[in-house]
Amino acid sequence: MRWLGLVLIAALGGILVWGASDLPRRGDPGSPAAVHDSVSVYYIRNAYEETRTPNIVTAVLADYRSFDTFGESVVVMVAALSCVLILLRPRRPAGDDGGDA
């Protein structure tokens, strides 16, 4: 069983490295995200006219990709909620250890 886990992790890691090796180099002008009529060129050209926001990063974060930001902020809230729920257990009366302590 331990070997199965090791093999699975190695296989998944190998797939990850294989996939990452196919990514375009950083700053590559010919990458799919940077050629003309792609989204990044659209944002650079139109972000100011469409949102009156000089900072393109903010325009993308909170307008074009705001559903992503919404999910991110809900993740932050759920993290805090689970921290509180896990760490702040209600106090039990003395002598009752709840059976799972």
């Binding site: 926001t53 000089p54 900072n55 903010t58 909170a62 902020s73 809230m77 805090a80 909620l81």
Partner: protein, 143 residues
């Protein structure tokens, strides 16, 4: 929290630092349109100011910022953001389509104000969430 650093120096410095930290945090949140920054960064700075109070003043800081306020702020922030997101759906728009939420404005201006509102809600959410995590870790089981 059971213990804190009872030091006149730390408390004096914290008393002087916290207001400026909070004002700068609100500047970072609202100035995200023009400079690096935004809700996440400003919220972290607001949380840092509260955690500084928690460390230096201990129990006294709960009078200014009660333990329940953290989760409440986080929940209110998430709820307001969700309302901002779902409101356009009522009039047939798409999720977080600010131009439909603020239908009386021109589209670019509506999106400007929508971005600002979203940043403010994210700021409150991160602020409350980080303080709640700190309180849960520091009090360690509700002592």
């Amino acid at each position: 929290m059971t213990s804190c650093f009872e030091s006149v120096f730390l408390q004096t410095v914290a008393r002087g630092t916290v207001p400026f930290l909070q004002v700068f945090a609100f500047y970072v949140i609202t100035h995200g349109h023009y400079s690096p920054g935004g809700g996440f960064q400003g919220g972290v700075m607001l949380a840092a100011s509260i955690i500084l109070l928690r460390i230096t003043f201990g129990e006294d800081s709960f009078r200014r910022f009660p333990e329940s306020a953290g989760l409440m702020l986080a929940g209110v922030g998430a709820l307001c953001f969700a309302v901002l997101g779902f409101a356009p759906l009522l009039s047939g728009g798409s999720f977080l389509e600010y131009a439909r939420t603020f239908f009386w404005m021109e589209a670019p201006e509506a999106r400007y104000w929508g971005i600002l509102l979203a940043e403010v809600f994210i700021g409150f959410l991160v602020w409350g969430a980080l303080v709640a995590i700190y309180d849960a870790l520091a009090t360690g089981g509700g002592e």
